[in-house]
Symmetry: C2
Subunit: 428 residues, 2 copies
């Protein structure tokens, strides 16, 4: 798993750190090293991290106690030299659950810490019709089942990530506004915790596009690309932005709201009430109304988006000129909005999700041409549109990745019998 941005250093940075947080940082440093390198000896780790060998041994005792690493036996390196006892990351006893709640489905994706998939499920669902209370009950029910499945596989759940299509206050775990779910000011983490009831795993919430971007970055078509943008393609269009190998969240967690960039002051009115938002040019409703106007959506939730996209794909395959022109026009606007993203972020890739991915073959050529015409740095700023291969699973996968990162950043949150060494603060 590529992660360019380094882990928080042991005690570096602006703020003074206490001994407990220093120990957490050092545990994370060791875990990240094991994740990158595979098996290592304790002295390899000491050499690579600059930590004292006694400190590494002490940290390792805690990680062994928490079931996060395991001894992998004796290794012999080269013809001479002492054999060494190696350790490796062991995630098999720790489970993470990613979930996504969207307009017409709930998805779950559970793995162990090493990335082995233990649960993957998608359940149809009508969020708008159900309202927030019944939606939360349904999400709680599906999550509880998945947690039971994780537990049955021997992986104790360490956390639940939830992806939501809307503005999320990440610090509070609350949804500020999710127009397509009809949610406003919903303390989702708290409410879901209450639904699940047993408090076995903390809940973290983020925007679906942010989490899909994280999934693309950790294991998708742009895996390891430190500067990239992910675009959801639904009736609404959201963005998740990776900058220098980390998710850009902004001051309040409201970054990446690409759908409402004003790009045409004489354009049509958006569902948000403003005029000329990018979404009115490239969202699914815009495409449907020009490609297949007899199917055009009114206001409110969009029924059967997959069916609409399938019809458009059929129109393309049949060479229907109206459909072809409509798709090309969306492609050009995709390139125009993409040029704003490239002028501002200078990413290496813009990954297209949702319906964009399904029509990528016909959308990308006009989008790429328009992008190249409009980007001010010209060909020097090399950026390609790429179609996502993760499909509907992207956001729930990303939600699981978020929990994995959380576990690595604070391994002390993983339950274990108290071990003797925890009285030795700060790893010495």
């Amino acid at each position: 798993m590529a992660q360019r941005r380094p882990a928080a250093p042991a005690g570096g940075g602006a703020q003074a750190v206490g001994h407990a947080s220093l120990r957490r940082a050092n545990l994370a440093l060791v875990l990240r090293h094991l994740r990158e390198e595979g098996s290592c000896s304790r002295s390899d780790i000491a050499d690579a991290t600059g930590l004292h060998r006694a400190t590494v041994s002490n940290l390792m005792a805690e990680l062994l106690g928490r079931g996060l690493v395991r001894e992998v036996g004796i290794e012999h390196i080269g013809a001479v030299g002492r054999p060494r006892r190696a350790v490796a990351l062991d995630g098999s006893h720790v489970g993470v659950l990613g979930t996504e709640i969207n307009v017409d489905y709930v998805a779950v994706y559970g793995t162990d810490l090493a990335g082995r998939v233990l649960v993957e499920r998608r359940v149809g669902f009508d969020a708008m019709g159900m309202g927030p209370d019944r939606s939360l009950k349904e999400l709680g029910r599906v999550a509880k089942e998945a947690l039971d499945d994780l537990t049955a596989s021997g992986a104790v759940p360490a956390g639940i990530g939830v992806a939501v299509p809307g503005l999320v206050d990440v610090a509070r775990g609350a949804v500020s506004f999710a127009p397509n779910l009809g949610w406003r000011d919903l303390p989702l983490a708290e409410r879901l915790q209450a639904e699940i009831g047993d408090g076995r795993a903390p809940v973290m919430v983020d925007n679906d596009a942010n989490l899909a971007a994280l999934a693309e970055f950790t294991g998708g078509v742009a895996a390891g690309t430190p500067d990239m943008v992910y675009l959801t393609g639904e009736v609404g269009v959201g963005g998740g932005i990776i900058v220098a190998g980390a998710l850009l969240r902004g001051a309040d967690g409201f970054s990446g709201e690409v759908g409402h960039m004003p790009v045409d002051p004489t354009g049509s009115r958006c569902g948000c009430g403003r005029v000329g938002c990018w979404e009115t040019k490239v969202g699914l409703a815009a495409l449907v109304s020009s490609a297949t106007p007899e199917r055009a959506y009114g206001l409110g939730p969009a029924p059967d988006p997959e069916e609409r996209v399938a019809e458009i794909a059929q129109g393309l395959a049949a060479g229907d000129p109206r459909v072809m022109a409509a798709v090309a026009e969306v492609g050009r606007w995709l390139g125009l909005g993409g040029s704003i993203l490239v002028n501002l972020f200078n990413p290496r890739a813009i990954v297209l999700g949702g319906y964009f991915a399904k029509l990528a073959e016909r959308l990308i050529p006009p989008a790429q041409a328009e992008l190249e015409r409009l980007v001010i740095a010209g060909p020097a700023a090399r950026c390609r549109f790429l179609a996502s291969g993760l499909g509907f699973g992207a956001a729930s996968r990303g939600a699981a990745s978020m929990v994995v990162e959380q576990v690595i950043n604070d391994p002390t949150a993983i339950g274990s019998a108290p071990i003797a060494s925890t009285t030795n603060l700060a790893g010495r």
Copy 2:
């Protein structure tokens, strides 16, 4: 100096690090700690960084040898306990030079590592009339004088930062395109080094808006705000973006090109050849042509921008309705473009430089109102337009800050007599 993003950790992150780079990372860790904390004992540093005490003593010997820290005598903490020998950052022997080359001036700003200002000068100049060769000669002459001044103050120059209004390939130190200087594909670092001749300090180049943003972040009106955007306000409009406490550079160093976001498909033609760029709405030429059309600029470089802005300020003071309407209109477009930045980055502040700062009192109210109307997260994404107080010095100050960061990140580049401990690799 606030820096939220932590220093690179000792050996953490994805890539395996060699002993030399591990030692550099540990030296930087110690220097950053001293910069944040002021004076400390070696054992404080060991506690805070997790490094072994012997390692800290060894690193400290090197930093003392390079003149980057100094012993500050004995400190007594509390009523009991042993007295301790403290050390502190000592930047007085190390100089940094920031320079800016712009359309009509060259500026220099030289400090020691501790931030004491040793040189500050601005020299009038006609970049377009002179062409690249003579411009470089002039920049070289001014920089050489400033280096001599630094040296005369006892500060050995550690590096020269150059701010350029254009697209910069930071890794190569080359200017890809600077339309207002008439430069294209100019290997500036190499050429300036040759002008200066004696190789006494390496040259680093970056975009003027990026460096002004860095100056605002380290010591301006938005100092320490981890998520902020800086806008230059000239005939061209550039942006520098700070994300999570660090300058956003993008994959090729071409980020922050706000001036050419397409915001009006039926708008007027931009100097870049495209249509409806934000610059055609908020750049100085746009304002002059609607506020004082008899002064409107043609194509090519804009003469006397400061005079034009002064005339507009007079028109405002006199209550000239045409001028007032023109400024309000620019304010509204500033808010519209600002809403794109807030939707994407969710910054806490947008700092207005250049002519925007001079007319801030009349520009900010309509800009702020339009911003709040258009931002999709509404009042939850709190972002204020603020007027820069750094004036023309912002970019050269930021160029100096860039060199300071470089020195902290790699203290081994600072010359010193070889010291015994350098054979002990990796700090032990």
